[in-house]
């Protein structure tokens, strides 16, 4: 490794070869504004907002895409550079709707923020602007190309992280637009609805389909019994809506806020996560016994399931037939709970708060209907939407007393909580499968080998005499790597956990878009780790940490479902998948 010496704004710097001007400048506190740059994606060098002056060069150079060379003399500021940056941002505004006041990203939009910070106070070059219809065919997300500033972060996340390649830059010059092939509606594309494009978009060009209206209306309808369930990852992130440090568990406040909004029952998706573990472990053991359809692949991430159906239909038999925890919980709310409470299931309105926009799609899959027009899950809210509803209602979240979930569908073990993190489903399943297989209690509860922020992990776990080969993948490009290994026979796995979003649901497409420094980068590993940390802390503090020890799980099997894998359990808690068009290209 070679060190290179250069000067930035008169200050000498010594950096490793290959360091960019931006990285070096950041280190000495000279912050160069940036827009297309994203720390977890490849360098695009397209927005040119980060230009700096380098002595001896006729033109400015992009700080994000220029490696420092020996003796470089760099100036990050001058009246001319500031004017150029301002002019560039103005050019973006000139081609952008003036709708900040009614925009979803008002207040946490990087473009808005940049325009303010750089001092764009007048519009000199205004003229025509591009016109595109809002594309809202997908039940998960909306594409509003007029708000797109062509930074291509979404294109990069969709290909580099998710391997979906749904989005591309189409046409050229001023007509350039980012869209799926043939400018097809998102719903007719290979989009797996993970919402990572929302997570990286600096503006509101990608945003979730709003469900709040539907929920307000239900809450206001006296004929409906409105219940809500919250996914594990919500409690780890919701506090960020009120600037609580990332990783602050806010379960109690969240429950109280939901009650104040008027929900008649507040339940925990984690209960169904425990149930998922029971069913999935059973399925796993059956398959191991018969030696068929291995590896078993988890099925709780609807983004992954959509990916499976478009890209790897050959692995459909391997996917666990278990519904996702959200769908299990909703199904039980409209059957078990309805029966118990003596309420007509059609009068129950189930709201699910999810860190995910793919769940909005999952809830509308035809398999997940009680009967025609009666879905198990009536509405799915993202964490962002719930934060907004609480604010709109005027609830002083930070000063709320802690509340408790309703039972029986609100009690969970530590195993159910960690579902929100990559590796969590695997760990929870191992805790239970271990005991089911060996008949002995697990000695070491924490299978830290499968905990990871990185996208891919393989491990071999000793379960009795059995060496269980497991793999954990998050981000679908990593899933591809694992599946290709299985296909080629390079590696034989017993159990694979796949989650679509990098880091798992804690970094799902519906989580708060928080500022990291000056920018909204919800994919920061540090942030993800903190949110995961919140879940592992909750798990640690739980008295009961294994799904099969959950007393309410025992009860529901006794009272209602029979045994794991029973006919009734199959009917209510399992589902099926089918290959979908258009076929994805691996």
């Amino acid at each position: 490794m070679k060190y290179i010496n250069a000067t930035i704004d008169g200050m000498p710097v010594s950096v490793l070869e290959g360091t960019t001007i931006m990285e070096a400048a950041d280190k000495i506190g000279a912050h160069v504004p940036r827009l297309c740059y994203h720390p977890f994606l490849s360098t695009e060098g397209a927005c040119r907002i980060c230009v700096v002056e380098v002595e001896g060069m006729r033109n400015y150079l992009p700080a994000c895409a220029t490696a420092i060379t020996e003796g470089m003399n760099i100036k990050t500021n001058s009246p001319q550079i500031r004017q150029t940056r301002r002019d560039l941002v103005e050019l973006l505004l000139d081609n952008h709707p003036k709708s900040c006041l009614t925009c979803d990203r008002d207040g946490n939009c990087e473009l808005q923020n940049l325009a303010y910070k750089l001092g764009v106070r007048e519009r000199l070059f205004e003229g025509d602007r591009k016109r595109h219809p809002i594309e809202d065919s997908s039940v998960s997300l909306i594409r509003d190309a007029e708000k797109c500033i062509l930074c291509r972060r979404c294109v990069r996340v969709c290909s580099e992280i998710q391997g979906v390649h749904n989005l591309s830059q189409l046409y050229r010059g001023f007509d350039t637009v980012v869209a799926p092939a043939f400018e097809a509606p998102m719903d007719d594309s290979v989009c797996i609805k993970c919402g990572q494009c929302i997570n990286v978009c600096p503006t509101a060009a990608f945003i979730e389909q709003d469900a709040t209206e539907l929920v307000w209306a239900a809450l206001d309808n006296p004929d409906l019994h409105v219940v809500v369930q919250t996914a594990p990852a919500i409690r780890a992130a919701i506090g960020e809506g009120w600037n609580l440090p990332p990783g602050t568990p806010s379960t109690g406040k969240m429950i109280t806020a939901l009650r104040r909004l008027g929900f008649d029952g507040v339940f925990d998706t984690d209960f169904a996560a425990d149930l998922t573990i029971m069913e999935e472990s059973h399925e796993f053991i059956e398959r191991v016994k018969k030696g068929e359809k291995l590896p078993l692949i988890t099925s709780c991430s609807p983004g992954w399931i959509k990916f499976l159906e478009h890209f790897y239909p050959e692995f459909i038999p391997n996917a666990s037939s278990c519904k996702s925890p959200m769908q299990m919980e909703s199904t039980l709310l409209k059957t078990y709970y309805a029966e118990k409470m003596g309420i007509d299931p059609e009068k129950i309105f189930v709201v699910a708060v999810m860190p995910c926009v793919a769940k909005k799609y999952e809830a509308r899959r035809p398999e997940h209907y009680l009967k025609e027009n009666v879905p198990h899950t009536d509405a799915v809210l993202t964490t962002r939407e719930l934060i907004w509803m609480i604010k709109a209602y005027g609830i002083d979240f930070l000063n709320l007393p802690d509340g408790e979930f309703d039972n029986p569908l609100g009690f969970s073990t530590g195993a159910g909580v960690i579902f929100g993190s990559t590796g969590g489903v695997m760990e929870a399943a191992l805790r239970t499968a271990y005991e089911m297989i060996t008949g002995e209690p697990v000695k070491e509860l924490e299978f830290t080998d499968v905990r990871a922020v990185e996208g891919l992990r393989e491990a071999t776990i000793k379960v009795g005499d059995l060496d269980v080969n497991v793999a954990v993948a998050n981000g679908l490009n990593n899933a591809k790597t694992i599946l290709e290994k299985v296909k080629s026979g390079e590696k034989q796995f017993h159990l694979i956990e796949i989650m679509a979003c990098p880091g798992g649901c804690v970094a799902g497409g519906g989580q708060p878009l928080v500022y990291a420094g000056d920018y909204v980068y919800p994919l920061y590993p540090e942030l993800i780790r903190k949110r995961q940390g919140a879940l592992y802390t909750i798990d640690e503090r739980k008295e009961i940490r294994k799904s099969h020890d959950n007393p309410y799980i025992k009860e529901i099997y006794k009272e209602f479902l029979g045994k794991p894998g029973s006919e009734k359990a199959h009917h209510l808690l399992h589902t099926h998948y089918e290959a979908k068009l258009p076929r994805g290209i691996k």
């Binding site: 591309s168 258009p582 290209i585």
Partner: protein, 165 residues
């Protein structure tokens, strides 16, 4: 539900299969699209989709490339392909005025085809016969020193030629 029915001509499919045996098969994308357009006159969505699957290049990338280059057309061309040179030499000699005349006569804009499918109007950059500026080509035929006032006459000739043929 494999993409089983390919409608591309067999030789084009073979060409792509051969590309797949070479290094960096994706780099043959443009060559393949050239072949497809050469055969069918334009790139249909179906064909682009087939190219994407046969060459294992994401469909969005194929469409991105096809819409990027002025050369590729996404709609069938007219019977007569009118190309007006919009190079500098032709411009100084009034090519823009000739273009305007074509637009008025045909009632269609640059890059479009008339509703009867007879004429398509496109601009090209320098045909290399600047001495004849402004230059127009219709299919393979070259017209030099074109004046705006001659445009309707040229079009009429074309229509007659069609009738004769």
């Amino acid at each position: 539900m494999e993409q089983t029915t390919y409608t591309l001509d067999q030789d084009i499919q073979d060409f792509i299969s051969n590309c797949m045996t070479l290094e960096h098969p994706e780099s043959y994308l443009i060559a393949v699209l050239h072949k497809v357009q050469g055969r069918y006159g334009y790139l249909s969505e179906k064909h682009m989709d087939e190219v994407a699957h046969l060459l294992q290049v994401p469909t969005s990338t194929v469409f991105g490339v096809a819409t990027f280059y002025h050369f590729f057309r996404l709609k069938p061309a007219g019977k007569f392909k009118i190309s007006i040179c919009l190079g500098t030499a032709c411009f100084v000699k009034g090519a823009d005025l000739v273009l305007d005349a074509f637009k008025t006569e045909l009632g269609c804009s640059l890059g479009d085809t008339t509703s009867d499918g007879m004429f398509s109007l496109e601009g090209t950059r320098c045909l290399g016969v600047c001495a004849l500026a402004p230059v127009v080509t219709i299919n393979e035929q070259v017209f030099g020193n074109v004046k705006p006032t001659q445009v309707s006459e040229i079009l009429n000739k074309m229509k007659e030629a069609k009738v004769e043929a």
